[in-house]
């Protein structure tokens, strides 16, 4: 019988982001929570709580997941670096096909996903189950769910060869880029790291949002790696995306297309970003951003 297993790595928020996909897929579903708080209010038949203190490296985790995913026709996680790391390895272990970056579905065996930096939307047919999916939540808004699901403890035995030596989490108190309601991003015109942090980081903080950057800004050392938004960086889908001093390369636009409202601020009236932006203002970001903050008193 067809049945979906949602996988959350770090707790509740991921489950809530995946709920809309589960509803659209329309199959009965369970959710497996590896670490952190279990999402009990997303309409799952069962919540399987592994309760690990931390998320193990991919080789150990995929091995441990193998027995827990048996019997499910569909196995899905959020589309992020961790899911791609672990779930693609799981697909190799259980000989499953995989569809990454699912943005839409026609049936439980037909999914759409972007390819070639979002220039093309591919329709992928699943020829054999089980199938493993990573899902971009923007395409799957969730209906409200009432009631909570029973929680069962499960044993996830994770031992592998890779050893984690250290972890560096950056970004401080700012919300996660891929989950933030507002994202303020900057490009190379910011000039240096200190200016980027003050102008873009400061504006993001004032709006309660996350800071993002172009590949060019990251390449030139103005912004940290994990702030990169685009084809090979983070895919964001906030309510409001503010692009300051960003020309709008195909690779960057691939990461922001699902944003509800895109605002562009750029000195160059011919910058390609103005073709994508819902609201565009031709102007110097160093004058415009302080002026906006003054108007909003933030």
């Amino acid at each position: 019988m067809s049945k979906l297993l949602l996988i959350t790595f770090d707790g509740g928020a991921e489950g809530h982001q995946l709920a809309g996909f589960a509803q659209k897929l329309g199959l009965p579903f369970d959710v497996l929570c590896i670490s952190g708080e279990a999402p009990t209010e997303i309409g799952a038949a069962r919540v399987l709580n592994a309760g690990l203190a931390e998320v193990p490296p991919a080789d150990a985790l995929a091995e441990g997941l193998k027995s827990l995913v048996a019997g499910y026709s569909h196995i899905a996680g959020l589309s992020n670096m961790r899911s791609k790391d672990v779930l693609a390895r799981l697909a190799g272990l259980i000989e499953a096909g995989m569809v990454t970056d699912v943005i839409g579905l026609q049936s439980p065996t037909s999914f759409t996903r972007p390819m070639v930096a979002g220039s093309v939307i591919a329709t992928v047919e699943v020829l054999a189950e089980p199938v493993i999916l990573t899902v971009r939540p923007a395409g799957f808004p969730a209906d409200p769910v009432s009631g909570s699901s029973p929680v069962e403890s499960v044993t996830l035995a994770a031992s592998g060869q890779a050893q984690r030596i250290s972890v560096t989490a950056r970004g401080g108190a700012r919300p996660d880029l891929s989950q933030a309601r507002v994202v303020v991003s900057g490009g190379r015109p910011l000039g240096d790291a200190e200016t980027f942090e003050r102008v873009i980081g400061g504006f993001a903080d004032a709006l309660g949002g996350a800071a993002g950057a172009t590949r060019a800004a990251v390449d030139s050392g103005i912004a940290a790696n994990e702030l990169q938004v685009g084809q090979t960086g983070k895919i964001v889908a906030p309510e409001l995306y503010i692009a300051a001093g960003i020309s709008g390369s195909t690779q960057h636009m691939a990461g922001i297309k699902d944003s509800k409202l895109i605002v562009a601020i750029n000195k160059d009236p011919d910058a390609p970003i103005f073709e994508f932006a819902d609201l565009g203002l031709v102007g110097d970001l160093f004058e415009v951003i302080p002026e906006i903050r003054a108007k909003l008193s933030v």
């Binding site: 693609a88 390819m115 890779a162 409001l240």
Partner: protein
């Protein structure tokens, strides 16, 4: 150390690509091809490891038609020692590629497989992890720094929230992210030398049936045309009207 670098021939990553009008494929007229940029970074990293310690041997491998010889020659010009082309017209999904590469790894017994984190045409980000799983080797994906220490590797990898360092015993598999290195400019002597390096063709040996298949290619929906505002006042008013703040 023996390092195997699988690489893929992809559409020029800077080309504007459109689907064909009937959705049956991509319009490739006038499009050039290149090594997948992340695979080129993997080749560069292997060559740098060899330059530090001359005992390494670097084998590059690609799967596809004889067209991929061009990309293998480029990898030889960067500094790989020999190339293998698994010559086939079979249609693969990522798992099928992992199966085919698994056979090459079993035949060549490298200590390290180093490859791109994803190909810039399909954007799948699957084959490396699947191959590592098939081999039972530990993996480090999204690598931004690789250091060999005896029979172990220390890999700094990018994560959703920052970075982490993994230590892996060999043999193991590493996938390269953008900031692992900047591939060198290939000078003429390298290109000439590459012509005389061995490039061996082998038939595909697995050719497993794909479990997923792309059946249609469409242009993304266009965003509704936006508008330019002429002042900060107008911008702030529009944002407030849309409830975006």
């Amino acid at each position: 150390m023996k390092i195997l670098v699988p690489l893929k021939r992809v559409i020029d990553p800077y080309a504007k690509v459109k689907p064909l009008g009937d959705g049956s494929g991509l319009d490739l007229s006038g499009i050039k091809f290149d090594i997948n940029p992340f695979d080129e970074i993997a080749v560069e990293e292997a060559v740098r490891m060899k330059e530090k310690d001359g005992s390494h041997e670097i084998i590059v491998v690609s799967i596809g038609t004889s067209d991929s010889e061009e990309q293998l020659r480029k990898a030889l010009a960067i500094g790989a020692d020999r190339a293998i082309l698994i010559e086939t017209e079979h249609i693969y999904d990522s798992l099928g590629i992992a199966h085919e590469l698994e056979a090459v790894v079993r035949a060549e017994s490298p200590d390290l497989v180093l490859m791109g984190k994803q190909a810039t045409d399909d954007d799948n980000n699957q084959a490396g992890q699947m191959l590592a799983a098939r081999l039972g080797w530990p993996q480090a994906t999204f690598a931004s720094k690789v250091e060999a220490a005896g029979t172990r590797l220390q890999v700094t990898r990018e994560t959703d929230s920052g970075e982490e360092v993994l230590e892996l015993p060999l043999p193991s598999l590493v996938t390269a992210d953008l900031r692992l290195n900047e591939p060198r400019y290939i000078a003429l002597p390298g290109i000439i030398k590459a012509r005389s390096k061995p490039l061996e063709k082998r038939p595909a040996s697995v050719m497993s049936s794909p479990k997923t298949r792309t059946v249609r290619y469409d242009a993304p929906p266009a965003r509704a045309a936006g508008r330019k505002v002429s002042s900060v006042d107008e911008l702030v008013a529009a944002l407030q009207e849309k409830g975006a703040l």
